[in-house]
Structures are given as structure tokens and as C-alpha cells.
Point group: C2
DNA sequence: TGAATTTTGTACTATTCAGTATATAATATG
DNA sequence: CATATTATATACTGAATAGTACAAAATTCA
């Protein structure tokens, strides 16, 4: 064990809990005291571990992408059949968007709407996350181009998919029913894939 | 003329200017001092005319819907041809979403992402705005059902359209290029309408 | 055991912000 | 002209908030 008084919290768990607070209350709507209360730690500990509010938030976004988005995306990148792969993906991602186990909506989308015009580093990080989502889905659609509606390119389909999910996030944020979210998601599936 | 000292500002113009401030900086990100500075009035005047921050914001949303959204929607509700009507609508609405003359994104969508879990009255007002958009587009699609992709119902098409625009708002908020926004919008048009 | 080291806990500071009290200015009416 | 009335301007208050100073606690190592 290293020297000095032992830490009473785990950095990764703390990041996860902080994520949930930001996710629910937004960046501006979250006070650092809300976070220290949720994590049951003190402010100096928070600052020592993560830096100030802005730096903490940037790390929260990384955590979100690695621990919430990536596991859902992985099966899609490995699927042999686009239709089934997307179905599974939408099942998983709408569960997140609807906010049954986590706060509603996509964290990236919601925080971007709020904070984009305020803090440049946050805008850049969130914009980067969207760009990577675009690239990911574009790659998936290129790989399965034969299953795509021939009216649209893989690039456009990726933008449409990501935008649809972000729009559904807004809707979930408004308290939309499960039906509303699912109907939007399945509408995308129906029109974006080539019909047999 | 009425008795007493005359007002130095016009309520509607003030609402418009306040809208622009909220639109750019968000609800939490806007200080009342930002608004009084932009309108060149004092806080007691603001309170006398509109009430506190929350009440002012609710009126700003009404103003936005009446003066930004409604004029764009009107031609669509009167068009005889869905394809051309939607094309015109997307031309107009993407101009707003891209934020050339106004701040980027849809005000309703962006403020909902930010403030939904905080202030119940604001959430209700914004959720109501989305519900009305849904109804509007659903009505339009029902009227022109013959032009719609038969894979989807008018209800689902309306949810998909509104969600797509909200998602593109997020994207615009991230600083997306005009191409990115337009490609998403035209992708919707290509897949949502019946192909000739 | 005692010094060095790292984290924790408490208390504090400076700033920002929503909302208000009070006084003053400008107009209409009698 | 005097009074009532309405709006403006300045200054203030109390609460919240990001960030920090400093001392106490807990651990390792010599």
C-alpha cells in the first residue's frame, strides 16, 4: 500500500456517481455540493482527485462514453446482420434514453444543448463525441450497405440515426411515454433499411 | 395616453430580445442582469412587466412559438403537395436550426434538455410545445398520407420528424457545418416520403 | 517510536445572482 | 399648479456557489 492516509473512495465509482448527478440536473444545475453529498466526500478530496467542476465534467463524459455507450455499441460493430444488429442496438439504447435505470436522455446530447455556448472545452469534448458516433455508425452502414435503404448514403444514414436518438433524448427529457420513444426509434428502422 | 411616466420599452420587443439571450446562453446560463443589460432596462422594470425569471421564460417560449415556429409551419399546413411543402419547411427550419440569424438550435429542444428535471412549470410548457408539434405534423401527414412512405404511420412519421429536427439542433449546438445539418434533414425527406 | 506523507474535515472567502426597498422622474387629471 | 399615478434608477439583501486555507487524522517507512 502507498504511504499516507488511505482514500475512502474509489475514483471510478466516484466518477460514475458524479455522472448520475450531472445527468439528472445538468451541468449548471449541479452544484459541487450536490456531488460531494452524493459521493459522501469532501470538496478538497474532490478537487484533489479530479480538479474543478469543469475538469470533473470532462472526465465524466469520458466515463459515460466508455461505460454506457461503448458496451451497447460493441455488438453492433460485430453483428453479421444489420437489421438484427440495429434492432438489438435500439433495444439497448432506448432503455438508456428512456431513463429507467439512469436519468433520461443521452448525457452528451443533453449537456451539449445546455452548455455548448458557454464553456469551450466542454463544447469541444461533446462535439468530438458526436463526431465519433457519426464515424462509428457510418462505418457500420458502409459494412452493411446492401441492407441500407438505397435512397441514402451511409454518411447521411449515420447523421440521421444519431440525430434521431438525440431528438428522442429530448423527448424522454420531456417525460415522453415508452411508446413515444419506441415508435420514433422503430420508425427510423423501418425507413432506413431496405425493404425486402 | 395613460397616466404616469411612460414606458421606455416595448413589451414585445423586450420579449424578443430576452428570447435571444436565453436562446444563446440557456436558462441557467442567463443571469437577469444579462437580460436587463441587453434590453437596456432595469430590474424593477423587468419584474413589473414580466414577473421573475421563470415567468419571463415561460412568456419567451410563447413568443418563440408564435414568432419563430408558427410562421414557418403555416405554409406547410396549407400546401397542396407534401413533398414541396416539406422541402420548403426544411429550408426554413434548417435556417433557424443552423443559427445564422439567431442562436443555433431549436429553443424548445435545447431548453428542455437543460431544464426539464429542475423546474416543473418549464418542463410542462416545453413538453406541451413538443406535443403540439407532434399533433401538427401528424395532421399534415394524415392529410397527405398518399405521399408518405407506407412503412410508417403518420404518428410515427411526426415523431421521427420532430426528433430529427431536435437532434439536428443538438448537432448545430456542437458547431456542425451547414452540410451536416442539411444532409440529416434531406435524409429524412428521402426515406420518409414514398418513392415515385 | 517518530518523522514524512497523503487524505480528510471544517471553516472560510469572494463572487454571483434573484429578487426587493426606496427614492426619483415623468406623465395625466382636477 | 398640485396631486395621483406609473415607470425608472440605484442600491441593497440574502442565499447559493466555486474554490481554498489550514489543521487533524491515518498510514508508511526509517
Amino acid at each position: 500500500m502507498s504511504r499516507g492516509r488511505p482514500k475512502k473512495f474509489n475514483n471510478d465509482q466516484a466518477l460514475h456517481d458524479a455522472m448520475l448527478v450531472f445527468w439528472r440536473h445538468g451541468y449548471r444545475g449541479t452544484a459541487l455540493d450536490d456531488i460531494t453529498a452524493a459521493l459522501n466526500i469532501n470538496k478538497p478530496s474532490l478537487y484533489a482527485a479530479f480538479g474543478g467542476k469543469e475538469e470533473l465534467f470532462l472526465q465524466v463524459i469520458d466515463h459515460y462514453r466508455a461505460h454506457i455507450l461503448a458496451p451497447i455499441a460493441k455488438p453492433l460493430s460485430e453483428c453479421s446482420n444489420l437489421k438484427d444488429g440495429l434492432r438489438q442496438y435500439f433495444r439497448d439504447i432506448t432503455k438508456v434514453v428512456m431513463g429507467k435505470e439512469t436519468p433520461p436522455g443521452c448525457l452528451v446530447a443533453c449537456m451539449l444543448a445546455e452548455e455548448c455556448c458557454q464553456t469551450e472545452s466542454i463544447k469541444a469534448k461533446l462535439a468530438g463525441a458526436i463526431a465519433e458516433s457519426d464515424r462509428f455508425f457510418c462505418h457500420v452502414f458502409e459494412k452493411h450497405k446492401d441492407e441500407l435503404n438505397p435512397q441514402i448514403t451511409p454518411e447521411a444514414a449515420a447523421v440521421l440515426l444519431v440525430s434521431t436518438l438525440h431528438g428522442l433524448s429530448i423527448r424522454a427529457r420531456a417525460g415522453a411515454s415508452q411508446e413515444g420513444i419506441v415508435s420514433g426509434a422503430s420508425a427510423f428502422l423501418k425507413v432506413a433499411l431496405k425493404q425486402p
